[in-house]
């Protein structure tokens, strides 16, 4: 009997990998535990071990082949005396079907890529400096940090695994090599300490970029962020500012459960003295991160792990920036407004397509880009046009960004509303681990569609 060796998922968000090296060849006998290949993932290059025994009957990919989907067969082992038919195309669809539920929403985004992500927003279309090639969000962030570090010696990076490991999510890849260990510093797992240190350095005139491996760990340091970074300018009567960027992935990844899946957007957006940014595409990630690094104030820059692999065109001008506090009208429409940010932009766009197809609703989508200061003008103008509003975000519902938007809109555009504002949020529970429950927890396209139907009084 032959056994297929499948491309393994080596991280919670990995959907495909590159086969960088075979450590076995056809005809080799392998035992469980033998190293068989080196796989490059979205985060690192890792060795893969055999879990079954047999002789290598076939290798289905050449060394160097890229973007091999998770769960696709990459090799066949078995008994050489048995006659087996080897198919070059292993049935990946079957595996997914068996699971019934998609591995994670990145897969879903990938599936919809042709429809959704490749549709540039009007603003990007107008951009004359658009790159010809598409890059990932990860690369856009990296490039921007490198560009700013080249311009200003006072900019430096610190965080866990940012240097020698090349970034826990590879966002700082190559920066150590270019800028050296004085400017790219690996810290111990010591958020409270190194955050306070970075805040002190910013008080004294440096411009730190502090990476939280994820924002979940920023809670260890939240006193320094709120009480020291955000308030000192005020408490010092304007003398001491804190030009620092706190960045890293925020919100849910894929099945990492309650302690590693929290969305902090509304927490930080509540704090005067902080600016809060949540990019949604490589294009705005670049423009917004540049503004964040150049800003004289502490900026919370909420990335999203699942979006790191998202590709798109960017503006390669090393001075291109997107102003903090400006929302982007991602798609114009006349029937209802969706206000969203970060990863939920993708789901909102998907919902908008279906709302057009299935209900002939013309949706306007506003991508906030900055959460604090909030671009209320763009939201209000849109609501005055469409008369209907839903907010879509990954945060918990109580006191979310959407709650504040609903308040502003009822206060300043009450007479324009044709229906109550509806918020689409995550479930009001800690994030569960199980794949099925995780999906229930997170806002899905159907939730957005249901909310849109409700504000449009469609049964």
């Amino acid at each position: 009997m032959s056994i297929e060796i499948l491309m393994p998922a080596l991280s919670p968000t990995m959907t495909e990998g590159n086969l960088s090296k075979w450590l076995i060849k056809k005809g080799d006998a392998v035992k469980a535990g033998d190293l068989i290949a080196e796989i490059e993932t979205d985060k690192a290059t890792m060795e893969v071990e055999a879990v079954d025994e047999g002789v290598v009957l076939d290798l289905l990919f050449e060394e160097g082949e890229a973007n091999i989907p998770v769960n696709k067969a990459i090799a066949i082992i078995g008994d050489p005396n048995e006659k087996v038919e080897v198919k070059k195309e292993a049935p990946i669809e079957k595996v997914i079907e068996e699971k019934k539920i998609e591995k994670n929403i990145e897969t879903k985004i990938e599936n919809k890529k042709a429809d959704i992500i490749d549709t540039p927003s009007p603003k990007i279309e107008e951009d004359r400096n658009l790159s010809s090639e598409e890059i990932t969000m990860r690369q856009a962030l990296r490039d921007t940090m490198a560009e700013e570090m080249r311009k200003d010696n006072k900019v430096f990076i610190l965080g866990e695994e940012v240097a020698e490991y090349q970034g826990a999510y590879k966002v700082t890849q190559g920066l150590l090599q270019e800028f050296g260990k004085e400017r790219v510093l690996d810290t111990p797992i010591s958020e409270h300490g190194f955050t306070g240190l970075a805040v002190g350095a910013a008080f004294k005139g440096l411009r730190p970029i502090l990476e939280f491996m994820t924002f979940n760990f920023s809670m260890q340091a939240i006193d320094q962020i709120i009480n020291s970074a955000a308030k000192t300018l005020y408490m010092s009567g304007g003398q001491i500012n804190c030009p620092i960027v706190f960045r890293g992935p925020n919100g849910a990844a894929a099945q990492v459960a309650a302690q590693h899946s929290q969305d902090f957007s509304s927490w930080y957006s509540q704090v005067p003295g902080l600016k809060v940014i949540a990019p949604s595409t490589p294009y705005n990630a670049k423009g917004l991160l540049r503004s964040a690094i150049s800003d004289q104030n502490p900026v919370i820059f909420l990335e999203n792990e699942i979006l790191y692999g998202l590709k798109g065109q960017v503006n390669n001008d090393i001075n291109f920036s997107i102003p903090i506090g400006k929302a982007n009208i991602e798609k114009e429409g006349k029937d209802l407004t969706i206000v969203t940010y970060s990863i939920m932009l993708q789901k909102s766009k998907e919902a908008a397509l279906r709302l057009k197809e299935e209900y002939n609703l013309d949706v306007e989508i506003i991508d906030l880009q900055t959460l604090r200061p909030l671009d209320t003008e763009t939201i209000l103008n849109s609501v005055k046009k469409t008369n209907r509003l839903i907010t879509v975000e990954e945060s918990w519902p109580f006191g979310s960004v959407g709650s504040e938007i609903a308040n502003i809109v009822q206060r300043d555009a009450f007479d324009y509303l044709d229906s109550p504002v509806i918020k689409v949020n995550s479930a009001d529970v800690p994030m569960p681990y199980a794949l099925s429950l995780e999906k229930l927890y997170l806002p899905q396209v159907d939730d957005i569609i249901n909310a849109a139907k409700k504000v449009s009084y469609i049964k």
Partner: protein, 320 residues
């Protein structure tokens, strides 16, 4: 160590006295309702900051706790503007927005005044990081109360400072009580200066009632740090005569204990030394006393006459 000159003795005496008179006046203004909120007095601890001051370079940085009035005076800041911050007026160092616990003077490299116990320790370590990053020869003096020595971020900062050899001098002001809890009820192991040992940070215990002991230790430690050897810890044994804050009657300690410390009053020690060495006469000392009293009286008057911040100031200085 550089030999102390006559002028140094006078300077020490004047500064310590100025701090004492300032704090007494602050207590009076607090009682009159002119100062609000929390107000933590430094009376009894004057020799600590003044001893350190004697070894400091003007480009060195300082960061301290909320018991900061004396630290600002020792940094050479204007008592008028310090008192005006205590009264919450527009001439205060933080324009009335910080108050007693949150005062800063960037131009004098004084980085606060921090209200959260322990928070100033990583911050001071980061300021030291900046000195090193910029290739400066300066050091950051980071003061820590004994209460903060049981706070996790302090040890995170020690680890980082030792790991990266940062030019930071940690000064533990051990005044024996973290609010109302005595050190022996809060700290497992009373030798706080040894708490850097695991990180390879040398430490030393010093009599903080005697300014000369403080100077000697601060000079040695300062040199060590300035030469690029990494951090150093001085634990200064001191005592606050007053309660933790103005609202604390200090019933957790005995009158005898307080009286005992008053026998070794830091200001009296310097005065005795000045008279013994015939650096100044009794009359000259009297003149300093009178002038200091007058200066602080003027500061109080200035601080109570300075206008409150304008209403429009509520919304300024949130962002730069």
């Amino acid at each position: 160590m550089k030999k102390l000159q006559k002028v140094d003795y006078i300077k020490m005496y004047s500064y310590m006295l100025k701090i004492r008179r300032f704090e007494e006046r602050a207590a009076q203004l607090y009682g009159m309702g002119k100062i609000g909120g929390f107000c933590h007095l430094y009376i009894g601890q004057e020799a600590v900051v003044v001893g350190i001051l004697m070894t400091i370079d003007k480009n060195d940085s300082v960061v301290t706790t909320y018991r900061d009035h004396g630290h600002m005076i020792a940094r050479g800041l204007d008592p008028k503007r310090i008192m005006a911050e205590l009264t919450g007026r527009e001439d205060g160092y933080s324009a009335g927005k910080g108050g007693s616990m949150h005062m800063f003077s960037k131009e004098n490299n004084f980085y606060g005044g921090h209200g959260i116990v322990g928070a100033q320790v990583p911050i001071g370590t980061g300021i030291a990081f900046t000195h090193k990053y910029n290739g400066e020869k300066n050091i950051c003096r980071t003061y820590i109360g004994d209460g903060a020595m049981n706070n996790g971020q302090v040890f995170e900062a020690f680890n980082l400072a030792a790991l990266w050899k940062l030019p930071v001098l940690y000064i533990i002001e051990n005044n024996k009580y973290g609010m109302g809890t005595s050190v022996d009820r809060a700290a497992a192991g009373l030798d706080l200066y040894k708490r850097g040992e695991a990180f390879g940070i040398p430490g030393e215990k010093v009599d903080g009632m005697n300014v000369f002991s403080v100077i000697e230790a601060a000079d040695k430690a300062g040199k060590y740090v300035r030469e690029g050897n990494g951090p150093y810890i001085i634990e200064v044994q001191t005592y606050r005569y007053r309660g933790h804050s103005m609202s604390d009657p200090a019933k957790y300690r005995t009158k005898e204990e307080l009286d005992n410390y008053k026998q070794t009053d830091p200001i009296e020690i310097v005065k005795a030394e000045i008279l013994k060495k015939k650096i100044a006469t009794n009359d000259e000392i009297e003149k300093i006393n009178k002038d200091t009293l007058e200066e602080i009286k003027n500061a109080a008057e200035f601080a109570t006459n300075s206008p409150f911040p304008k209403d429009s100031e509520l919304y300024t200085d949130v962002y730069l």
